[in-house]
Symmetry: C2
Subunit: 135 residues, 2 copies
C-alpha cells in the first residue's frame, strides 16, 4: 500500500482549466454526448433547417426508426433539439436545433475542419498497422 496513486502537487497538466481528470469533466460529457453513432449526422441534417421525422430518417440514411427516436429523445432531453408535435392527421412532428444546439456547431466545425485535413492520415496509419498484422 501507500503506493502514491493519483496526481502529486506540481503535476500541472491542464493549462488554466479546472480538473480535467475528474470523472464528470465537462469535456468528457460533451464528447460522449456527440460520440454516439448518429448524433453528428442529426446535427448536420438540422444545421440548415427544421426537419420532420421522416425527412431526418431519409436524410441520415441507414438509421432505423427506433434508434433515430432514441437519438432525438436524448438530444431533446439534453436541451439540444426541440420536438414540436402538430395535432394533425397524419401526425406531423418537427425537430429543430435549440440555441444551445446551434452554439455547439462551432466546436463541431473545428473537429470537422481538422478531420478533413487529417482524417486521411489516421486512416492511412490504421491501414498500415492492419497491413503489418495481416502480412
Amino acid at each position: 500500500m501507500a503506493r502514491s496513486r493519483g496526481r502529486r502537487a506540481g503535476d500541472d497538466v491542464s493549462p488554466g482549466g479546472p480538473d480535467v481528470f475528474s470523472a464528470d469533466c465537462p469535456s468528457r460529457l460533451v464528447v460522449e454526448r456527440i460520440g454516439d453513432k448518429w448524433t453528428l449526422l442529426v446535427f448536420m441534417a438540422l444545421r440548415r433547417r427544421v426537419l420532420r421525422f421522416g425527412e431526418l430518417r431519409d436524410l441520415v440514411g441507414a438509421v432505423t426508426p427506433k434508434v433515430l427516436t432514441q437519438t432525438l429523445r436524448s438530444l431533446e432531453r439534453d436541451g439540444l433539439v426541440t420536438r414540436t408535435v402538430y395535432a394533425e392527421v397524419p401526425p406531423r412532428v418537427e425537430y429543430a436545433l435549440t440555441d444551445l444546439g446551434r452554439s455547439l456547431l462551432g466546436p463541431i466545425d473545428a473537429i470537422r475542419a481538422w478531420s478533413e485535413e487529417n482524417g486521411e492520415r489516421i486512416a492511412a496509419s490504421r491501414a498500415a498497422a492492419a497491413a503489418r498484422v495481416g502480412a
Copy 2:
C-alpha cells in the same frame, strides 16, 4: 418501393463541405476515435510531457491496465501517440503524442471551452427531464 429515400438535389445541408452524410465522413471517424471512455483523459495527460505506463495509469485514475493498454495501442495504431520500449529490467515504456496527436489538441480545446461554458446547461436540462419522469 420508389419511396424517394436519400437526399434530393437542392438539399444543400453542408455549407462548403464534402458529403457529410457518407458513412465514412471524416468527422465521424474522429469523433468516434476520441469518443471512447479514456482517450480524452490520455490526451490531457500527455499534453504536457511524455509519460510512462504507470504514470499514465496513476494520472488517469480508475482505468484498469487492460483497458489502458487497449486505449494506447489503438492510439498508436492511428498515429496519434508513440510507444517507446526501453530494453531494461524492470521494463520501461514511454508514451508521447505525435505531431498529429498534438495538432488534435486544438479542436479538443474548442470542445473543452464550449463544455466549460455550456456543460452545466446540458446537465441541468438532463436533470430537469429526469425530475419530470421521476415526479
